[in-house]
């Protein structure tokens, strides 16, 4: 735990500082460039000029050390699941996960007969936002990212947990 994190009583000052901090965190949530399958193509399209993720403050990082959001874009095979877990562990706090597409949500088309596919990435890492679709269009990815920003904005980083 850091020096100031979750150490203050709930009052007007911490509420305002919390607001500032979580606003800053939500509007500069850099995501981990991490494509597993065809959803990654949609993720790239979302980052490219037409949909332009940088206008909501999100830009791709190639290292988990610099990333705040992990977008699990695609089919998580059992072999990849251990790597996904390790990469999630190596991200710096605070960290968030978006499960993008049916495969990452529940196994998708492989949910019954896929002998090698993890049935939902939430079995190995905690997921904040699920995005349905196979693959989701860039609009729905942006919708999910805005929902995540909303979630981050309601956090209280400095206030003690009840």
């Amino acid at each position: 735990m850091g020096f100031l994190e979750e150490r203050f009583e709930d009052n007007i000052v911490t509420a305002k500082v919390d607001q500032l901090l979580s606003w800053a965190r939500s509007t500069s949530a850099w995501y981990f460039q991490f494509g597993l399958a065809c959803c990654a193509i949609e993720m790239m399209a979302t980052a490219a000029s037409r949909h332009d993720l940088e206008r909501i403050g999100m830009m791709p990082r190639s290292s988990p050390r610099q990333a705040d959001v992990m977008i699990v874009a695609g089919t998580v095979t059992l072999k990849m699941a251990t790597r996904v877990k390790k990469l999630y562990d190596q991200m710096a706090e605070p960290k968030y996960v978006i499960s993008m597409g049916s495969c990452a949500n529940s196994g998708g088309p492989y949910s019954r007969a896929g002998y090698h596919v993890l049935k939902g990435v939430d079995q190995v890492i905690p997921v904040d936002v699920y995005i349905p679709g196979c693959p989701p269009r860039p609009e729905s990815l942006i919708e999910g990212l805005l929902k995540l920003q909303e979630k981050i904005r309601h956090e209280r980083p400095l206030t003690k947990k009840k």
Binding site: R83, D89, Q90, E93
Partner: protein
């Protein structure tokens, strides 16, 4: 003159203060939850194995150098060959000079024996390579 150094001194002080403040702020504000996995080396999700201090054979270096020289040669040859007819004799002579320079390099490398992985000829065979040179010194 001393006034100019004063500016530099001021610059150094401001730089140090800014750096200290930025590092302190991030130290105070950032959450810190170290774990074994997090402090591990980042290897694209793989388990890091062994030490980073591995030794390569130094001969790979020469081979990489030779490769790059002739790689670039081919790179220049292709566009030259495409417009060869419209360029005329001057371009032909220039390219010939370029090739001759590189061929001299190739001859040098060949003579040195760097094209062979296992070197049979050891020019200055003394000490532990003495037996390889094939002659008594």
């Amino acid at each position: 003159m001393y006034k100019d150094f004063g500016t530099i001194f001021l610059f150094v002080i401001i730089g140090a203060v800014l750096l200290t403040v930025a590092l302190l702020l991030s130290k105070i504000l950032s959450p810190s939850k170290p774990s074994t996995n997090k402090l591990d080396t980042y290897e694209c999700g793989e388990e890091a194995e062994g030490s980073a201090w591995v030794q390569f054979n130094i001969r790979y270096y020469v081979i990489a150098l030779i490769f790059i020289i002739f790689d670039v040669e081919v790179l220049f040859l292709f566009p030259w060959a495409v417009v060869y007819k419209s360029l005329g004799w001057l371009a032909f002579i220039e390219m010939a000079i370029f090739l001759v320079i590189l061929i001299f390099g190739l001859i040098y490398v060949w003579k040195k024996g760097d094209l062979d992985w296992v070197k049979y000829k050891v020019k200055y065979g003394r000490g532990r390579y003495q037996k390889l040179s094939g002659k008594e010194v």
